[in-house]
């Protein structure tokens, strides 16, 4: 046997882990590049904004600038807002949004599943729901203000009407699209109608419902903020409206930044819960 013949396979086995290593390294490098470019983009935009505003290419009074916005947030954090401590405003808005969201989701799921299961109800109520859904429901916020006053109740109500419909439609669709085989199997195994609803229809509709939960928390925040904007005693929405009334553009942006952080935190929490609920699902990369 010649030495060349012996050496070839040896080279090959050394090469294989080498290649996978270099592939892993390339993947890591790409990740770093993406992150760096992402940060640079943010810095670039904020920097341009700041520079243009300082050079008065854009009107600093109307458009404000990142440093001013940050100063505003910092003042709110350290000295509190005109309405009281910042934490209290955030808590108020969050409380209204959360309560509205929970109520809206509960109502949406119950009605969605009920109409999805009971064709008679769906046939009777179908057109009315379509009409209600086609209405821009945010217009109800002023009415709720008249009905429920300046307190949290009116904001909760507007959050509920915004949240209800997307959740309802998804739950309805989910209940309708249940695998017929699973229902037939459950019935053969001995499940009553109630059991089929609770143990087949609802579990298989959960993935539909969860999809709508992500969107609908955003809607709940919109409902709460718009409600506060129209009339309130506390909350981020009121902060926005006050900043607007005093031509404090930085204040409006600052409130936006705070809202974004709140919404992202809620989204993160929801994703965490979703992972726990859907342990039975295959993870698709």
């Amino acid at each position: 046997m010649s030495p060349e013949v012996l050496s070839t396979p040896v080279v090959d086995t050394v090469k294989a882990p080498d290649r996978s290593q270099s592939r892993a390294r390339a993947a890591r490098r790409r990740k770093i590049v993406v992150t760096v470019v992402r940060v640079l983009l943010l810095i670039g935009i904020l920097g341009l904004w700041e520079a243009f505003s300082r050079a008065e290419v854009i009107d600093p009074f109307n458009f404000s600038m990142p440093t001013k916005i940050w100063d505003q947030i910092w003042t709110w954090i350290t000295h509190g807002t005109a309405l009281g401590p910042l934490g209290e405003q955030i808590w108020y808005t969050l409380y209204e949004a959360l309560l509205g969201w929970v109520l809206g989701v509960a109502a949406g799921v119950v009605f969605g599943i009920a109409l999805g299961r009971i064709t008679f109800l769906a046939d009777v109520l179908g057109p009315y729901i379509k009409v209600l859904n086609s209405m821009p429901r945010i217009i109800l916020a002023p009415i709720f203000l008249i009905w429920f006053g300046l307190g949290p109740a009116s904001k909760v109500a507007s959050a509920v009407v915004l949240v209800f419909f997307p959740v309802f439609f998804n739950a309805f669709q989910g209940a309708r699209e249940v695998d017929r085989n699973l229902v037939a199997n459950a019935r053969i195994l001995g499940a009553s109608d109630r059991r089929v609803t609770l143990q087949v229809v609802i579990p298989s509709a959960t993935s539909w419902i969860f999809t709508s939960l992500h969107v609908s928390f955003g809607f709940a925040l919109i409902g709460a903020i718009v409600g506060e904007y129209i009339g309130a005693t506390k909350g981020i929405g009121l902060l926005v409206s006050q900043s607007q009334n005093t031509f404090n553009a930085a204040g409006v942006y600052a409130a936006m930044v705070i809202l974004a952080v709140v919404a992202l935190a809620a989204e993160g929490l929801l994703t965490f819960v979703e992972r726990r609920v859907f342990r039975w699902k295959p993870t698709n990369s």
Partner: protein
């Protein structure tokens, strides 16, 4: 006549007519007469789409016949009874339940206490060789393992009547032979009557006491063949026996004609 001496399943002049979405009428099954004795394994073969599955849904009580009668243990079928087990062609395991919980579902639906249901489920999981997999979810199993879960979930209810709708058609050939043997083993201990629908003639001869050949749709019974191969059988070896091949040829003469009719209809449809 007492319920004990009447045959397990009797279809008398049963017809099933569906209303199609376009408003027309589709006859799936026409004047079907079929008797399945107690403890008998009957395979139903016929061309694809001829209405074999509909026969099973009539016996199970999931659908009611448009005309005629369906009797289970001498009693007319009204809705899903508790004597029947059904293994579906597609996967019908509940994806959000673990393997153990899937097998427990039947007894739990029927009001068996939890501890007892768990114990029975574990027994059947052991019998299908999945004892080590009880905490897995269906998506973590192979197709063959999921079918075993479905078998355990069906057998755990102690069905007197076992309906199987092409249960192994989605599996690869080797797994299929393995599952057929397992099915025979599981069945031999129970004394249940089986109606096994398939379009695979070899499978039907290897498994059954009686092979029923259906006509091209709308389905009705064309001919019934008794399979006199001795039990216990091993699916892989029994199909090499001369008697098996003889029976195969005999039945295929009858079935082949129906398959040809179906195929010609399909071709006419395309043309």
């Amino acid at each position: 006549m007492s319920a004990d001496t009447s045959p397990a399943i009797q279809l008398r002049g049963a017809s099933k007519i569906f209303r199609t979405p376009s408003g027309g009428l589709h006859t799936a099954v026409r004047e079907l007469d079929l008797t399945v004795g107690r403890g008998e394994f009957v395979a139903v073969v016929g061309p694809t789409g001829c209405g074999k599955s509909t026969t099973l849904t009539l016996v199970s009580g999931l659908e009611e016949p448009t005309e005629g009668e369906v009797l289970v243990a001498g009693e007319p079928v009204h809705g899903v009874g508790d004597k029947v087990g059904f293994v579906f062609q597609q996967d019908a395991t509940f994806p959000w339940r673990t393997v153990l919980s899937n097998v427990m579902a039947g007894p739990r639906f029927r009001g068996v206490p939890k501890a007892e249901a768990r114990q029975k489920a574990r027994e059947w999981l052991a019998r299908v060789g999945l004892a080590a997999f009880e905490d897995r979810y269906p998506h973590q199993l192979s197709g063959g393992q999921r079918k075993r879960v479905a078998l355990a979930a069906t057998f755990v209810n102690d069905p007197e009547i076992l309906l199987m709708d092409e249960p192994f058609s989605a599996l690869d050939v080797q797994t299929r032979a393995l599952m057929s043997d397992e099915l025979l083993e599981l069945w031999e201990g129970t004394g249940a009557s089986v109606v096994f629908v398939t379009h695979d003639l070899e499978e039907s001869i290897a498994l059954a006491d009686k092979v029923v050949v259906m006509t091209a749709g709308p389905a009705t019974v064309k001919q019934v063949f008794d399979i006199d191969l001795p039990r216990p059988r091993k699916v892989e070896s029994v199909r090499l026996e001369p008697r098996f091949i003889e029976i195969y040829r005999e039945i295929w003469e009858s079935l082949g004609e129906e398959v040809r009719i179906t195929r010609e209809r399909g071709a006419a449809h395309v043309a």
